[in-house]
Structures are given as C-alpha cells and as structure tokens.
Symmetry: C2
Subunit: 353 residues, 2 copies
C-alpha cells in the first residue's frame, strides 16, 4: 500500500496510482484529523470522494503518529494527550475517537488504536503496551460503524516472542477481519525483525489476512512473505523517490551520482513503467539537479511500479506454488542489494512521508 | 507557448502537455547551456529526445536571461561577458555562440541574439540596443544551421515608436521566418505596451508570424491579438500555479483563500480540464496548505488548459471572422479581471520560471 499521508500519495494523481498498479492506499488518521479535519471530510462523505480515489483505503489508528510526531503530554488508561506537531494544539486521542475519525474518513479497513513503543525497550514497557492495547481494542469495537468497514487488530510486543504470542491470543478474542503485526522495523536489526515474524508465523490464523505495518525494503518484504505476511505499507518507495533513490533488484540507485551524467539508458531496461520507457538516467539526473518536480514524479512512479510488480511476482509465485524457488532465487540478490542498516534509528523511521 | 525553462515545463510531463493542448514549448538557451550543457545535448541529438518531447520547440537567444539573471560584467560589440547565476563562472555569450547553442538544442524556431534593456530607459540606451541588435542579427545568420530550423527576428526599441519602426526596418532586411516584438511587459504599464503594439501593428508584414515575447495576462493577450500578434510565451500560467493562483475569465483565483475551505465546486464548472473535472476547491486548497506536489500539478494543468482554450477560442473567432465581437465581449470582463499592475517591477518580471 502506497502511503497517502494527508489525502494524496505524494506527487501522484489517483489516475497514475491505478496505472502503476495500486489497489489500495493508506491514509493517516492523525494527519487527516488535523488537516483537512472532520468537518470537511464529513461534507465530502469521506476521503474517497474528497481525494477522488474510488479504490480501497486503509487507515492507521493515529497511534503511531501520536507517539512519534506529536509532543506526548500524558498517557492514561483513557487515551493519549499530546500536542499537534503543526500548531501545538492539545489533542486527546482515545480508542473511541480514533474509531470515529476512521468512520468519518470512511476507510474500507480501519486499524485498532494501539500503544506504540520504540525499540529497543524494556519488557515492562512492552507488556504494559500490549495489555493496554488489548483493553483499547475492546473499547474501539463499542463504537458504531459502517457495515462495510473491516477492522484489523494489531499484535504488539516488540521483539519479545512470548509477549507477541500473548498479544496475539488477546487480539484474536476480538471479531477481527484481519491481523496486523505492529511495532517492527522501528529500529531493530533486520534479522531480529525476521526472527520475531518467523516465531509467531505458525500461530497466525490462516483465515485472516496478515499485515506487517510500515515495512519495508524489497528484502524485508521477501522475508516477511516467507513468514506468512500478505500485506505491507511503507513510505520507502515514495520517500526515497523524492531524494533521488530509484529501487531496483540490485539496490537503491542514486540518480544524483555523476556516473549517470551521460547515461542514455533507463533506470531499468526490463521495467515497463512510464519512467523507464521514456526517460534516460541522464535526463532524470538533470531533473533532480535542477530541482524539477517532474523528477520527483518519475521517481515515485517508478518506485511504486517496482514495488507493485515485485508484489505481483510474489503473488504469482504463491499462486503457482513456486514461491520457495522464487524466494531462494531472490534472497541472495536482495540481501546484497539491501544490506541491513542497523544504525537506522527510530527517529528516522518516525518521519512523516 | 508554455515555458520549459530547463528542459521541462515545471510540474508537467510531455504527455500531459499534449493533453492540455500544448503545440509548442519554449526552451531557455541560457539555462540549457548551463544545465545539462552542450555535451549532453549533443549526445541526445538535441532537446527533443533528451526530454521526450516530439512537438516543436522554440528557443530564446539567451539574451534576456543574460541581462536579467546573470551578473553582467561587460557588454561589448563582440558580445556579453557575465557570471553564471548558478556558480559564478564567467561566460562570454556572442551572437555566434547563441546560434550554435540553439543548433545543439535543435530547436524548431531559434531567436536572434539581441540586447535587452529594462524599461523605463533613456532614448540613447534604447537606440544603441536597437543598432547593436541589428549588427548581432547579421552575425547570427553567418552560423551554419540545420535546414529545418526557422529563425525569428526581434524588434526592440522600448516604448519609443520611432525606434521600434527603425528596428523593424533593419530587422526585415534579414531572411527571417518570423518576427518577434521583444522588450515589452518588462515594467511599463499595460496601456503603454498596447500603445506601442498598436502603433507598429500596421507595419508588421502579413506573411510572417508575429510573436510577442514574455506576454502575458489573458487581457494582455486579447489586446495584443487585436493588434495583430499571433504567438506568445509566458511563465504566468505555470508560475502563478505554483503560488496557488488559478486563471479564470474573472481573474486569478487564490486557492489559499479561506473562503474555499468547504467549497465542493471546481475552480471553473465550465472548464473541461482534469483538475476541474475531478477536484473541488476544498481539496485543491487542502493540497496547497499541506504542500502536496499534486496541488502544484493540478494548478499548472488547469492554467495551461485555460490559456490554450482561450487561444483556441481566439483562433476560432479569427477563422470565423467574429474576432471583433469576441474582442468587444471579452474586453470589459478581462479588464476588470486583470487590472493594470503598474507597480510590477522589471526585477519581478526577470525571475526564472
């Protein structure tokens, strides 16, 4: 799912999103609550009509942004008091308010409001967050909702497998339509993330879609699918695009590199996106050096196309029963292409797309 | 002609340009000489292939930017020495070099290299510029060129009608394919610009296209066509777009205005552009307030569509012999919509798009 933070996937039009293969996008409850706000969203009967997107929208609960972007003032059983990152307004977000905002947005999939903690963290903090999230989940379900809206629960517990399983057990008591794994890829090493996933994979119910939130690189995705994950959202393709980073199976190509100055080749000769079909690396580099918006657009378009094509290949392999060989073929290449960046801090992860 | 300063019409793809009705775009010789530079342009056999645009390109001579953007160091009979506005490099631009750069760009229409002066200015400076431009024009023609490239001359002379006619007489001695009026809309009042145009209109040869450089508002264009002008280029539609200004027959609509907060109407209900067909003022305002690039794109798209539609209406009226009544109908509306802004300084005009 491309991330459409505030009612637009950065640089892209809805029409272009469909053309690159987007089937569903993510909207951020926290950002949409601040801007355009509930009054405007109500007037338009939700985000779909406001932004002219007629395919599914998933909304996060707002929790992640509250704990990362806002200035946290108070965390109680009732909810979270924090200051808006835009104007300092005090906001009190509760499970009930999160549910109501997601109703007003009219998302097709809403996420339970949970407590997010950064990693690494203490066992005590992780346990408290798991238990509070379970209590908040029950309150979330008490809010009336559109019958079409699906609700996904979120498994927390950090890198503690016992806590993850406890969170899973509690979460599954709710009448859920899908199951998400939250609080990963927030600072821990790649290997630790995959370890946690592989440990809980066997316990994830087969009848629900499995969604790994905020992940990740092509390598992360390959490994996570291997653990049984079905869905992802991530700002990496769109955010890297705006920094001149083009995704390929051989790693992130930095178009600003002077080696591309006279390169008449496309980013990827095998890619069928509008960027690779029509533009050379030399021209793309020129657009970035001259700060032309078209450069940001073409990079975003290519990266989303790359991710969607990659997911499509994975789906085909799963459908054909060839995923194990696909996995073995891709793993060495993507491991080299996307080396572990353990130095990536939570602060970096927590940036707005 | 939309302005594609440095090999891209800001925010737009070539495909979108065609969809909004662009038949020809303008490239800036000065900017393209600095970036991507002649080596890259040669490698791609010119700008068309580099930027993936297969319709005509007109290039200015570089003179306007040299006199406005660069730090002018020395003006001699040979040419102009100036410092690059990007890195301070000393550059010596001559009529011959301008012709060679425009050859390398491979523009379909090249402009003679002339001396541009800001208005108001002294009669002496204006006369010297006219005479030097004529001598430079002769040297320009001595450079070998692609047979397909058309050459337009430029009439200078500021707001002095006698000087304009002298410039015209001299310019017409060259074997030109078109005739441009330069050095207007650079600080003088609207009425003065139209006065100059109307005085020289009768002397413009009917067999050549007449091009008014760097103009202007819809009102300017209506009046200039009434004086016999056929072609225009201007950054107004694209630059205003990026500031949230949407062109309409009733003036420039500022989408940031809070009156649009809950407005579900499009910018213009009679407009058939993708922006007006699909998006509300409320959403467009939201995009600008949240600094979403999609907002800049939709505004640019609308403004170019508006300008092209307006020119198309003018062409139809001319073809049908109904231009006089079209002019009388539109004049009062556009005069109110686009009041004279005599306070607009040359410095403001001289900004890069």
């Amino acid at each position: 799912m491309p991330v459409g933070t505030v009612g637009a996937v950065k640089t892209m039009s809805p029409h272009e999103l469909k053309e690159v293969g987007s089937q569903i996008i993510l909207g951020n409850t926290y950002h949409l609550y601040l801007r355009p706000g509930l009054e405007t969203l109500k007037l338009f009967n939700g985000l779909h009509k406001f932004m002219n997107w007629d395919k599914p929208i998933l909304t996060d609960s707002g929790g992640f942004q509250v704990f990362s972007l806002g200035k946290l003032k108070k965390l109680t059983e009732e909810g979270v008091q924090f200051q808006s990152h835009l104007n300092g307004d005090t906001i009190f977000l509760t499970p009930e308010l999160s549910a109501q905002i997601q109703q007003t947005i009219g998302s097709d999939i809403a996420m339970l409001f949970d407590e997010c903690v950064a990693l690494p963290n203490t066992e005590k903090n992780l346990r408290e967050a798991v238990h509070r999230s379970l209590r908040w989940g029950q309150r979330f379900f008490e809010v009336p909702r559109h019958p079409y809206q699906k609700i996904f629960g979120i498994i927390q517990g950090g890198t503690s497998v016992p806590l993850r399983l406890e969170s899973l057990e509690g979460t599954l008591k709710l009448p859920l339509d899908g199951l998400a794994v939250g609080g990963l890829s927030v600072g821990e090493p790649h290997a630790e993330m995959i370890h946690v996933l592989s440990e809980i994979a066997a316990y994830l119910p087969q009848n629900l879609p499995h969604y790994l939130m905020g992940v990740g690189t092509p390598r992360d995705i390959l490994e996570a699918v291997n653990c049984g994950i079905d869905m992802f959202d991530c700002v990496l393709p769109t955010r890297n695009a705006r920094n001149g980073g083009f995704f390929t199976h051989d790693g992130l190509l930095n178009i600003r590199n002077s080696s591309h100055t006279h390169d008449q080749n496309p980013i990827d000769a095998t890619c069928l996106c509008e960027c690779c079909k029509n533009y050379s690396r030399a021209y793309l580099r020129h657009l970035f050096l001259t700060k032309e918006i078209l450069g940001l657009r073409l990079a975003t378009l290519h990266n989303l196309y790359y991710y969607h094509r990659f997911m499509s290949e994975i789906r085909n392999a799963l459908d054909n029963g060839t995923f194990p060989s696909f996995y073995e073929m891709m793993k060495p290449r993507l491991t080299v292409a996307y080396p572990d960046r353990t130095e990536r801090s939570s602060a970096e992860v927590f940036k707005e797309d």
